[in-house]
Symmetry: C2
Subunit: 336 residues, 2 copies
């Protein structure tokens, strides 16, 4: 029926083991036999049977993406990036949704990896910030690669974004536009990005000699509702800021709605700035100024990072920090 390693070995006049050596790029095969085998491989259109390879070598050629309640567009971007890396290397992507509050997360993931012989994991926030969980994976010798970790464990490969710098830079830009009274809405405190973004904001204020006003600094959890509530809180004050910087776009949209309901004109009376450049950012009016991270690229790199760990074929990829881009749209008003 379909072409097997036996057919190739017969055609090339070598043993099946030699064919195996060639297709796995093992050392100690003479150039001439290698060529001979490869000719037969292409001639017959041979493709190794994944199940047989997997059974014998304990590798599945599958990597899994672990996520916990991410926003949908982030998830789609991450997947897109990973899939690009997979396509080039013949790996397959399997999805695994988890709950970071689940006590048994370590054991259930370990079980999943063992059951399906998953070759490695790609871990996204907030799971990437759970050091205990990562330690458990280490103990089981499970390979993984992390997107946006907090503690940059030297031991495991990661990709990160410059959340701090981007937030600092955006804040500086807001100040440069003439704003002196600036509010901030924090993200979910489980995500390490939240504190990075907040610290970037605070330090930019300090460095530019702008006073901090803690009435204008609100807690949020990345949800639209939490942004809306933060807006309600701020707009009930006597003095309101001239700009509010939110840790993500959904919260920024929530603030926008709450401002609208108080008849506060955007951006004339209030500038609103988000983070992430989600699809919503372009679709609201006025369109949202925001920070765009190269999520798809980052995810692709994370996947490459992981795959090169257990794949002798390609040269090792190294951990990398990616730069974000400041996007100024209509929601940020120039005051001077």
């Amino acid at each position: 029926m379909s072409v097997t390693i036996k057919d190739v070995s017969k055609d090339a006049g070598v043993s099946i083991k030699t064919v195996s050596r060639v297709i796995n790029n093992e050392e100690n095969v003479s150039e001439s036999t290698k060529e001979k085998v490869l000719r037969s491989v292409t001639k017959l259109g041979f493709k190794p049977n994944k199940s047989a390879q997997s059974l014998r070598s304990k590798r599945s050629y599958m990597i899994a993406l672990l996520y916990d309640n991410p926003n949908k567009s982030y998830l789609a971007d991450v997947q897109g990036g990973i899939l690009q890396a997979c396509k080039r290397t013949g790996y397959n992507l399997v999805l695994q949704e988890c709950n970071h509050e689940d006590e048994s997360i370590s054991s259930s993931i370990i079980e999943f990896v063992n059951d399906f012989k998953i070759d490695g994991l790609i871990i996204t926030p907030p799971l990437s910030d759970m050091d205990e969980f990562l330690d458990d994976l280490d103990n089981e010798n499970i390979e993984y690669s992390i997107i946006a970790p907090s503690t940059k464990k030297a031991s495991s490969p990661y990709v990160s974004s410059n959340d701090y710098d981007a937030s600092y830079e955006m804040t500086a830009k807001i100040i440069e536009y003439g704003h002196q009274q600036i509010g901030f809405v924090k993200g979910h405190n489980m995500h390490s990005a939240s504190s990075l973004r907040f610290n970037g904001f605070i330090n930019a204020l300090d460095d530019h000699g702008i006073e901090r006003n803690f009435d204008w600094i609100q807690d949020g959890d990345f949800s639209f509702e939490s942004g809306f509530n933060a807006g309600e809180n701020i707009f009930s004050l006597k003095n309101i800021p001239s700009a509010i910087f939110a840790s993500n776009d959904s919260m920024a949209a929530g603030i926008m709605k709450s401002a609208r309901m108080k008849n506060i004109n955007i951006p004339d009376q209030l500038s609103i700035i988000g983070f992430d450049d989600s699809p919503t950012a372009q679709q609201v009016w006025p369109s949202m100024s925001t920070v765009k991270q190269p999520v798809e690229e980052m995810a692709m790199h994370a996947a490459k990072l992981l795959i090169t760990q257990f794949d002798g074929l390609t040269e090792k990829t190294v951990s990398k920090e990616f730069k974000s881009e400041i996007i100024i749209r209509e929601s940020l008003q120039q005051l001077i």
Copy 2:
């Protein structure tokens, strides 16, 4: 190392074939041996090795989701639904992005299925509308289940939504709210949903004795930009409608932006209605009236449909049409 079928057979005092029979729920196993085997299985914590099963039985326990450039939240919802069905049945989900304009789509998907021994496919629009492609799959005896097909092929299982009815009903609601002058923006003409939604609109107009005005009916392709352009076209007319119904939320947001830029007040001067209930629908201001389809549920059903095809264990699931929900939010103004 890990528990195999041999260990179980030894523990239960039966042959490995009998163990295999039990775990595959085959007939002709006496109750007493079945019980004996199951006791050993749980006692030893035996789990069949997927690779070995796959190698011997030519099944991979993996199903693939085929998609082509869907909007990100739709994709996430579909995945979520499929994953729920997978979790319960021990299947795994693999992602496969395609391009419906690719000439070689049939052959590349067939190759993918054969390479990875994918057990079946779940096919989303617009791929679900490509009859030739589906015929090619049929010829290769590849199992699939379709989400929202145009031609309801009796031969293959599908889930569908009542796009026509939902659109009719929403239009009737708009009329009920007192609107007599209603515009419409069509979706991408590759999607069968586009014409269903349009026909529902037109028939509702006719049935309520409302005149069609073709200046107010614009082509779109589901993108924000196409909605924006449709808005620009409509708003450059002498007479503008009092409500515009767009075939999805992104286009509705585009219309909203274009209206805002012409200083048309929403919803006082113009009502805008979308379709899909995407995250954006709630995050714009005023929040968008829209039609919500139970995408996650539909996808879950599609997955069950597929899995029960090749899985003797569970009873067959049947094709089903799902009902949409009309959601009235701030963007639709009551005129009377």
